[in-house]
């Protein structure tokens, strides 16, 4: 029991991950989808940072009297991942704006309806 609680960081990771994924799948609003995607990606940031942590260690800066340091690599990787996430969000939002211009809506149902009509028209 205490082991399971001790890993509470991972529980948060899983909770965020599932929330994000659920949001992406369930909502029909494109902006909400992007938000869901962001939450999903944020959970991965937490996952990496958590796995780099070492009990009783400090940040990886050499200080007198400290022997153990946390693993800096995962945190560094996440800087890259954040950049990727921001870029993805930017592209997604730009697309949403274009979709809104083209269809006059960002609700998936209404878009599908219009596309279906377009398909029938040839």
């Amino acid at each position: 029991m205490s082991e399971a609680l001790g890993l509470y960081n991972y529980w948060i990771v899983i909770f965020l991950m599932m929330t994000g994924l659920y949001l992406v799948i369930s909502t029909g609003n494109l902006v909400r989808k992007v938000v869901g995607l962001n939450i999903f990606q944020a959970s991965v940031l937490l996952l990496y940072v958590t796995m780099g942590r070492v009990d009783g260690a400090t940040a990886p800066i050499f200080v007198e009297g400290r022997e153990t340091y946390t693993d800096p690599l995962p945190s560094v990787l996440m800087l890259t991942a954040i950049v990727v996430g921001v870029a993805t969000t930017a592209v997604a939002l730009a697309l949403t704006v274009r979709i809104n211009e083209a269809y006059g809506t960002i609700e998936e149902d209404e878009i599908n309806e219009q596309e279906h009509a377009q398909e029938l028209a040839g």
Binding site: F40, V44, L47, A92, T96, E115
Partner: protein, 495 residues
Amino acid sequence: MSEHLAVLPVLLPLLAAPICFLLRNRIAAMGTAIAVCWVTFVAGVVLLRTVVTTGAPAIYELGGWSADVGIVYHVDTLAAFVVVLVSSLGAVVLTFAPQSIAKEIPKEKHHFFAALYLLSMAGLLGIAVTGDLFNVFVFLEISSLSTYALISLGQDRRALTATFRYLILGTVGATFILIGTGLMYQMTGTLNMAEMAAHIRETEGVRTVLVAIAFLTAGIGLKMALFPLHAWLPNAYCYAPSSVTAFVAATSTKVSVYVLIRWIYTIFGTQGPGSMSGVVVDLVLPAMAISGMFIASTVAIFQTNVKRLLAFSSVAQIGYMALGVSLVSESGLTAGIAHLFNHALTKGGLFLAMGCIAYRIGSVQLADMRGLGRRMPVTMFLWVLGGLGLIGVPCTAGFVSKWYLVRAALEQDALYLAVIILLSSLLAVIYVWRVIETAYFQEPPEGKDEVTEAPLSLLIPTAVLIGASIYFGLFTEWSADVAGLAARELLGVVR
């Protein structure tokens, strides 16, 4: 110079992309991009020759940092083969592009197109050469993000929604790969694939690794459009500009298959006690591959839009590659790797032919292709040759890969598998012949202006790809033989 060879194919397009962007001139940007693509192709060929003749992988330590702290590019035969695949297809398709996009994309955006195209290519090439798993993710996102932008340049507004869908699913897939990578790092303490492979045996049966396998399979499956994870693909191929479709169809899913091969064979290995990819190669991949081969081919038969028909055919063909990879034998892996290249040529050529058709008649609907065999005889003849390649008729590259695949199945005494492969390839006959019959046996639609043959600047690249798909159906020294070499390397068979 030669020691920098391994990094050159990535560096050239990556550096040229911002230059194209800054040039802001349509002709200068496209010219630069085309030149860079061809130079990259030459570099790729030299790289492949070097790797094959020396028999040792080309290794390049970025910034001089060794594998334990830095990123190392590790180019073995397979990687070099994929580099040649991407750069050759990239170069030919970009040569096709200027004339083709002139009708599809506003002129003031052409330098964006060039820059995005180069970025996408750089990302794909980066995936091929890098030996670092996190680096794979980064390059994957570089190529994906630029591909999203490229696809959204399509004329039809549905290109936007197709891109959005691709973006959502692609990002989910990439994030899955990222999670898998993280879990692998957690267990092995390294991101370098070779080092990971060395430590993987110590983690036998650990659940974290199993979860990592699950995430990696799902993520890569999404990226390579393995049935039933292909939902993003048909519309994305269908509504993208012609040259983008050809490039993406020919390269991007193929590179994802390459990643799949990498993690199954290089990291996890297939033999010995540490092998944990068993359930994937024994069950998951074959099941997905076979259902894809049948269902996607059947769906293709009923399409009225020829680009979408070809897109579904791609999903089915990905199934053949996945099946070959899952057979874990020399012929099977050879089939999978050879089919990467052979199918890239065939499908690239077919999509370019569709580009020629779209350029002239402004539509890719089957109904609008009536009687086209008489009006665009050269284009349609090339299309027919490409279609025969999809079926896998002898003298086409498709036959070579099919041969290896069936042979691999029979070598494992899996007669049923051989029958399934051959039967599913018969479905291709139906969808290819639907187009041929429409083009040759029906009268042209009324009221359309007389259509003429596509301009040479479009026909030549198309003919080059289709011609290559015929050439490599007969002379396999630099296609299937190299694939066989790569397969032996991956399986650890001594040369």
